[in-house]
Symmetry: C2
Subunit: 482 residues, 2 copies
């Protein structure tokens, strides 16, 4: 698998172009049997690859070869050499010697533009946080431009911490979709529906119209998956929830919703609906294999069985749940009950305050150990599963993302191990979850395209996003003084 030299490359460019076109048009031709050089858009070589495939293979001295946005080959260097006996033509090569590759992380629940209110107010009750600070701040500040710049800043932060896919519900979601696509990141995005005026849409009719337009605009996009996002059972009437579900089903779009986040939500639901939040949502026919339910903290065994049977995706948010003292989700029981449980950061204001999935994995494992008073409760491999393949299952996208396998999307992260906290390494899962940090993320590839390379974010102008972030921060602070 020798890379050909730059000079040789220049000499044969016309031929190579012709050949590459030919090879790509005939994928069946591009295997070991053909005895011809094989063309790839991207080849990553010499890495230790944590695949998270069904066998949880860890490939030492591994290769990933990509065509388009798809993994065309993954395996050992020697297997690759057999496959490509006549040589390869790679448009781009990444030498990952001494580095670790894992699937791109999946942030299953967040509200990224809130990054512009990061740390606005913390260490207060949820009620004070919402009523005294966040709602007034959002009412005075959240505009299309706020969402644009907040998204851009957040996307840089997410890329830097190895996130390649995220699910988000906020306002001006179409602007967020534009930014996400521009940053080259995969987004499952839904405009929030609530039964009171939002910063953008002032009525349920406007929210529905906005969402329908949004669905029509983005469906079929390779990166953006438009969703319908009724906020929760305590902010949406039964009618709103049913309308949202109906629209989602009409368009075969995912449904994003907060479920059983607070104890009060449980108590109120039992009083009002005579049912737990999960059982109420089941009764009004919202639950199904298209639902992504954030939090699911206050769920009993009956709820868990329903969520598992209905194939609802659930997202655990340990930082947020700890920060707001919402309770501890019974993640180990939920996984044992067959639920699809992913991992998320929640919004980066008041409930985290960052978008760092590396940290979220560490916290998920440590929180379950603490909660169950058992160090075996949730281990490093389980936490990485929640951030990758189980996160993909929660999003019902496990056929496309969440593990590194031939035929799946080429979404992966290259981690630098040449730092004091990365050595020695006895177990890759343990190292990723308990010792490595976002700072070790060096290169990030989404759908075969590098969005960060050797520590530099390629798809966001970071300096500009940071400057705008500071500017918006000043405005938010000033708006609350008036």
């Amino acid at each position: 698998m020798d890379a050909i030299s730059s000079k040789q490359m220049k000499t044969c460019v016309p031929y190579l172009c012709l050949f590459a076109l030919f090879a790509m048009s005939l994928p069946s031709f591009a295997d070991g049997q053909s005895k011809q050089a094989v063309a790839y858009d991207l080849v990553v070589k010499d890495a230790t690859i944590v695949t998270m495939d069904p066998e949880r293979r860890v490939i030492n001295d591994g290769v990933i070869a990509v065509n388009g946005d798809i993994i065309a080959f993954i395996g050992t260097t020697s297997a690759f050499q057999t496959t490509t006996a006549k040589g390869i033509v790679a448009k781009q090569t990444i030498d990952a010697k001494g580095k670790l590759i894992m699937p791109g992380l999946i942030n299953g629940h967040t509200h990224i533009p809130m990054v512009l209110m990061r740390g606005l107010i913390d260490d207060v009750t949820l009620d004070d946080w919402l009523r005294k600070y966040i709602f007034p701040a959002e009412a005075r500040n959240v505009t299309k431009d706020f969402v644009r710049w907040g998204s851009r800043l957040a996307l840089a932060e997410m890329i830097r911490s190895g996130t390649t896919t995220f699910a988000d519900m906020y306002y001006f979601e179409d602007t967020e979709a534009e930014e996400t696509k521009a940053a080259g990141v995969r987004g499952i995005l839904g405009e929030t529906w609530i039964d009171f005026p939002a910063p953008d849409n002032k009525s349920n009719a406007e929210m529905a119209a906005y969402t329908e337009k949004f669905l029509n605009k983005w469906q079929g996009d390779p990166l953006i998956h438009p969703a319908v996002a009724p906020h929760s059972i305590y902010t949406c009437s039964e009618k709103t929830l049913r309308d949202a579900a109906a629209m989602a089903r009409k368009y075969h779009a995912p449904i994003l919703i907060h479920v059983a986040e607070m104890r009060k939500e449980l108590v109120d639901s039992i009083e009002k609906n005579g049912a737990t939040p999960v059982q109420y949502l089941e009764r009004i026919e919202v639950l199904g294999p298209d639902v992504l339910a954030a939090h699911c903290i206050w769920t009993d065994y009956t709820d868990m069985k329903i969520l598992a049977d209905r194939q609802v995706g659930c997202v655990h948010n340990p930082s947020s749940n700890m920060m707001l003292a919402s309770g501890v989700a019974p993640v180990v029981d939920q996984r044992a009950a067959g639920m699809r449980v992913g991992l998320g950061t929640d919004g980066p204001s008041g409930s985290n305050n960052d978008l760092d999935m590396m940290e979220e994995m560490d916290l998920a494992a440590k929180l379950q150990k603490t909660y169950r008073v058992d160090p075996r409760a949730l281990g490093a491999k389980g936490a990485l599963e929640m951030a990758t393949i189980e996160g993909a299952r929660a999003l019902h996208m496990e056929k496309e993302i969440g593990s590194l396998e031939t035929g799946k999307k080429a979404d992966f992260v290259v981690l630098n191990l040449n730092v004091p906290n990365a050595v020695p390494m006895f177990d890759v899962y343990s190292q990723i979850v308990y010792a490595l940090k976002a700072s070790e993320v060096e290169t990030v590839v989404v759908g075969g395209k590098p969005v960060m390379k050797d520590g530099k974010v390629l798809t966001v102008d970071e300096a500009q996003a940071i400057a705008k972030g500071i500017e918006y921060g000043n405005w938010v602070a000033a708006s609350l003084k008036n």
Copy 2:
């Protein structure tokens, strides 16, 4: 406060040297009244300084000026200009415009050479961890060289995450002290006493002799504070504990000990001693204002009152306590009872697995919120206090370190804010604890000397330490296969 040019500097070197000698010999001369240029070894300018002084001042546009290892001036740029109206002579200047400065972090409890067993085995019970893995691995691998290279690697990691002082108990502690001094970090170090053979000393008599020699060698060192370190009440007899305390008191040295870390320790102590671990230690006259007690999880209100009255320093280790499911220390109650409560990482193997105090602060706040089901339980400022001035009080070193004040040691950290996760910033405490990471640590100064500058560790050959870390990791893994 204009820095003079390099050319001007060269011209007047002979005069400046004479003047500097004169100014340093007459410190009273070097104030604003003198109307003469003032000489400093180091001036840091234009920073936002989080002082953690008694008024918890945050100085925007601030200056720190250092002579020797002491802060000679801290205040606003305009106050500095008044003080130095005739100009300054600074041997070294750090421009910290747009950056944040905080006191160096204090890791109150760890076993740093264990970094060479980082992630050796995790997600198992404490008993399995110790008996099946750590004890055999230590017996087969822990040598003086193991401690040397483990310490060196760990010191690089600690410097990178902003730690300027740490308290440690392990084996071959004299070697660890040499490494710590070479790295320019402040260490409170104690050779472990246990009632069974250690990797270095095989009997209590050897441990006592080693410690006495160690105390004699290091006492009076500006960076190394030698301590006496009886491991715990469950590994040391009453005689060992009393002997250790007596030696510490003879030399006015600190006592490092694990206290009430495990529920079993509490239950066993009540059965064996008819008292809680704390009340047993009080009865056998170990407790006093020279004791640094790690963990203190299983402490009741009577214990807390004793620990407060005796001015015992306690160290909370949230990562370790979560990882090993040891229980949750009642930190909020302990602080309310007047206890001195610092923060630590514990050893970086099986119980963390890193030495990152930035992460520990975040976890401390989030864990107390979760444990007390109250988001107001422990806030960002409280967590930073535990890692700085309260940590210093736990170490009984609050007159020297823990806050940035004139006359105290110049131990501080410069944090880079030019990254996506650092903006916007509404509250410095919230930002440091919940949003900034070790990766934002840019420059670290201990006793006036930079040990890391602009992202480069100056006092440890990192490449060599990393290479050795990998090598030792291979040996440890191989040793367990035999």
